[in-house]
């Protein structure tokens, strides 16, 4: 366990305090271009929330100033989320171990998932319009458990296809029952 003195392997050299690091080693990171995809998605999402929460202010004649508290809070959240996007994207990583794939994401709310290759039911490649514009793709790994929920976003298209083939091959050799 890291105890506040080591830098995270990703190399953004700040001192960490008690961060989870269950599988120390080299993580494969997603493409830096994915920052833009994530940024646009987050900004659109939070902008909608901000505008929606200002509706009471608009319909009440734009005089009740306190009705602007919620939109203001959401606007601050939007700015914060946008500001932390590059770091959040850098926190996404995956590792192909001998028998399983380990996926990590999250900065504040960290999550690590280990999925054995033999458990994978199918591997999806998803591309949104922004992904396509930037030549990226997301790889979704589906197991029999809905909670597994592993989606590796922001992979360059060629990498995604190569990774998919590699995982499918690995799954084939290690096939297990449900």
């Amino acid at each position: 366990m890291t105890t506040g003195t080591t830098a995270t392997p990703s190399g953004y050299g700040h001192r960490v305090s008690e961060r989870l690091e269950p599988v120390p080693g080299d993580w494969k990171r997603v493409s830096p271009r994915y920052v833009w995809v994530d940024l646009v998605g987050q900004i659109i999402g939070w902008a909608i929330v901000t505008v929606a929460s200002s509706i009471p202010w608009w319909v009440s004649g734009r005089e009740q100033w306190w009705l602007l508290i919620f939109p203001a809070v959401f606007l601050v959240v939007l700015v914060l989320v946008a500001a932390f996007t590059p770091r959040r994207v850098r926190s996404i990583g995956y590792r192909l171990r001998d028998d399983d794939l380990v996926f990590r994401r999250g900065l504040m709310f960290q999550r690590f998932v280990a999925v054995p290759y033999g458990r994978m039911q199918l591997v999806d490649i998803n591309r949104g319009p922004l992904d396509r514009a930037l030549g990226l793709a997301g790889l979704k790994l589906v197991t029999a458990a809905a909670a597994s929920n592993v989606t590796v976003p922001g992979l360059p298209m060629a990498d995604a296809e190569q990774l998919r083939d590699q995982i499918v091959d690995l799954a084939e050799t290690r096939r297990a029952g449900l």
Partner: protein, 538 residues
Amino acid sequence: MTDAAAVAKAEDLADGEWHRLHPATPLLRGGIAFVAIVGIVIANLRERIIDFFVPEAGRYGGDPVDLIERNHLIPVALLVVLGVLLLIMVIFYFSWRVHTFRITADEVEVRSGILFRTNRKGRLDRIQGVDVTRQLLARVFGAARLEIKVAGQDANVNLAYLSSRNADALRRVILRRASGVREQERAASQAATGTVASPARGVGDVLNERAAEFIAPELDPSLAPPTSVVQMHPARLIGSTVLSSGTLWFVVIVAAAIVGATMFHVYEILFAIVPTVFALGSVLVRRVTKSLRYSIAATSDGIRVGYGLLSLSNETLPPGRIHSIQISQELLWRPFDWWEVRVNLASRSRERGQEGRRGTSILPVGNRADVLKVVQLALPELLAAEGMPELVAAALERGRPGDGFTISPPRARIVRWFSRKRNGFALRPEAVLLRRGAIWRDLVMVPTARMQSVAIHQGPFLRALRLATVNVHTVQGPISARIGGLDTDDAVGFFRDAAAADVAAASADRSHRWHADRPHFAPPQAHERRPELPPSPA
């Protein structure tokens, strides 16, 4: 029909050719709709019927029936009704004719539909369970529904309806093929069971048989060991139902309503409770009647759980189809040491509500000995492991140092007020055990061979406390194998070891063809192999 003859018949049904369902199928499938239509008609003609029997009750008029009567259209109306009925019967007849199934060595296939044809195939080695249901109406005709459960949403293969005996025998044939027993062993086991000669049957025999089926115990004695492993006591069943948390909340709400009514003098509020009483009463009665004839027994092809009083159902779960198992206790059950055992199954992963809950409880209520028997049946390889029975026994108790569980550290008291000393996990090569809750106690066991993936989470609040949450993912169901408030180092170790155990168990698991690697076909006498359990420290 004797058992041997039934098996021979079922072998005929499973010969890979196309077969039709029970001839009463259209009637049974349409039966519910028919009753509903008659009900609606009667409800609408209520006044007319009253009028017919009590003419002085006052004329009633102005509905379509009046219109028909006035314009002398009665023969036309009758013809229309007759025509519609005839059309429905013809459609039902043809839908029965085209609804065929076949069972080959590797899969079961059903095709149906007149205009929109569907063809569904299920692979036998992917079977999650085989369910035989006998609804009240179907029992009158000696018919039963055979449902072959396959993992996934709405993926079951339904054979509704078959004759009752055929259904039982066919289930056995399907399970045997699914188990991967090789041909010569199948022949051998057939010879062993097929020694009884079949006598000639007359009409009287058919009636006797139907009557015998009606009063016979749910489990056919020849298909399973004659006695259920657990006996359901009516008193315990009623007691446990009354003492469940649902009734507890009801009492609280009623008390609040009474106090409120007397304080503010609004006694009308009390009438609002009446429908709730009826609703609760019907739920309780349904639960009791459903479980009165509960039975569970080991067969060579997995465990068989039977339910129901008037509409019977029983389900066979082949080995390795139970994805997790939970032993839980309601608050008021503790003085009696009663527990409920539930399971997560892949075949019900997406079903919600009543349908989803049906069959996830494999022991509605039982004492500690019953629970251990059921767990032994459900996961036989688990309790056979060294030290496992002691671990399970400890898991049903208050947490003690050195009982084999890694519990939350003292600083976790903020997130686990009462249960800190119970909240813990134990990791064995065979299974993961999660022990949770001090007020509502429960134990979740996930066989490592069934774990889909494992995750570890930590938010900012838990990070400040150096705590983390571990989540063992299984197929969706009523049980969530998640445990929070663990020390970070413990959680990280658990995550690593569980991931490794999952990989090891997945590569070693062969339960999708559960008899394939056995040299000789021999039903495992699971209930006889039960290891000695330590007496419960009272």
